[in-house]
């Protein structure tokens, strides 16, 4: 199979998966979801490491290192702040476990 077709296949399937997995999200969680998705694209850090590791000039090295800094801010900060938000959603379940169930989405 042509290699480009393989890439295209992965892309198209990922689009459907991406929409499908969040299609039932309650509006309660829009902020953490946005923040969490934001963190996931911080994986560009991997790309930044790759190109920086193969930089052949000083200029390329500097540009690459800037990309590494920016990407790690995105990734690390994104996951941490999402966790901080979600922690607050979870904590409340302990004191009053009786009725505390899913917060939104029910009609």
């Amino acid at each position: 199979m042509n290699e480009s077709i393989v890439w295209l296949t992965i892309f198209i399937l990922s689009v459907f998966v991406g929409v499908e997995v969040i299609s039932k999200v309650s509006s309660t969680l829009h902020t953490p979801l946005m923040s969490g998705a934001n963190a996931i694209h911080g994986i560009i850090l991997l790309g930044a490491i790759l190109v920086t590791g193969h930089a052949e000039s000083n200029l390329a090295l500097v540009v690459g290192l800037v990309a590494v800094v920016l990407a790690s801010v995105n990734m690390v900060g994104g996951f941490l702040v999402t966790d901080r938000m979600l922690q607050m959603f979870v904590r409340k379940k302990k004191p009053a476990p009786a009725k505390v169930e899913h917060g939104g989405g029910q009609s």
Partner: protein
Amino acid sequence: MTATPVWAQLVYLLAAVCFILALKGLSSPKTARAGNLIGAVGAVIACVVVFFYAELDHVAAILVAAAIGTAVGVVGAQRVQMTQMPQLVALFNGVGGGAAALVALLELGNLVDGDRGGFALAATAFTIVVGCVSFAGSMITFAKLQDLMTSRPVTFPGLPIMFGGSLLVALVLSVLTVTDPAVWLGVVLALVGLSLGVLLVLPVGGADVPIVISLLNAFTGLTVAAGGYVLDNTVLLVAGTLVGAAGTFLTKLMAAAMGRSVANILFGALKGGSTLGSGEVSDRPVRSAAPQDVAILLGYADKVIIVPGYGLAVAQAQHTLRELADVLMARGIAVDYAIHPVAGRMPGHMNVLLAEAQVPYEQLKEMDDINSEFKQTDVVLVVGANDVVNPAAKTTPGAPIYGMPILNADEAHQVVFMKRSMRPGFSGIENELLFDPKTTLLFGDAKDSLGKLLSAVKTL
């Protein structure tokens, strides 16, 4: 560049699955935290693996750079107040887009001499442009939310032409990059991308900015996906595409919650759609009352609905509000919180803020669930909210918020607004409900007023 060995590709596949599980988990309050953790694990694994096969140079420098970025991210994530969450998300998103653009720019340098073909070059051009749009757009968004600049739509006569022109230039340069690749073309593309990002977000009004964050988030996702193709890396492709697709879908959901189309949010101001939003303070007469009067209204009601808004969060009054609600409930009064989907400054923001104040989940009612209950409600207490109860959304075609679903506070028997001043809401338009005969205003800082109200209710 070294080819990725099979074992590393398998690890990347594992990371990609982690990301899918992360998004899936984030869709439900029960699994959200675990989901986020799984995503983080996947990201870390993927980033560690690369050091073991890629024969990288400059490893020490890379680790130092990553450590700096990590430190900044940790401090940012820990210090931020929940009220400032939209800004932080915008900022993190912007730097991600910027990183992707830089990566593509560097890779363009490698592609110039290579023979990867036109499609890789096109993807590179795309990554540079859209990454820069995302970076610049997010920075403007940040400035608007952080009050570093006006949150009102900024337009000027030549803006549509400049935007269209820049778009055309970006397209031409992208084609040139494919046919005749050169690094300087990439640099110019980046500059054009930056100006496109600025021009895209400037005309967006404050109330719509959250939607733009979500949209730019999706942009960055697609940028990372294209970068994955350029770098021949599957996990970037999958992760980026997931975020791009999920972000686009989420953007549409949020726009629907505001009764607007995404195009209308982005370009509405250019058509002069928000002329009613003068942002001026009205001097029409209103009925204001003392905390004691409002306490009597609340204390002898049967059913109270609280409508919290961003003003509540700014005053850090969530905890006092919860205390007040607790006291009212102890008097046998039914108390609910009505949460508008875009209450706060970001969809779902208010839920985060009230969760911080440990308001029990079951008291937070979503708009569709509670809107029919306002008719049987004695008192609606609007704390620091305005636009989400503004009947102009239903009655005034041409208002910037026209068509946005609102909470039907105007159907209740009595409405109490706690406001700092008569200044209009984020959208900049006046609220007719403030002048309604059944409306009482309690002026003052939300925390201060709620404190007085709380002690007044206790003495009843």
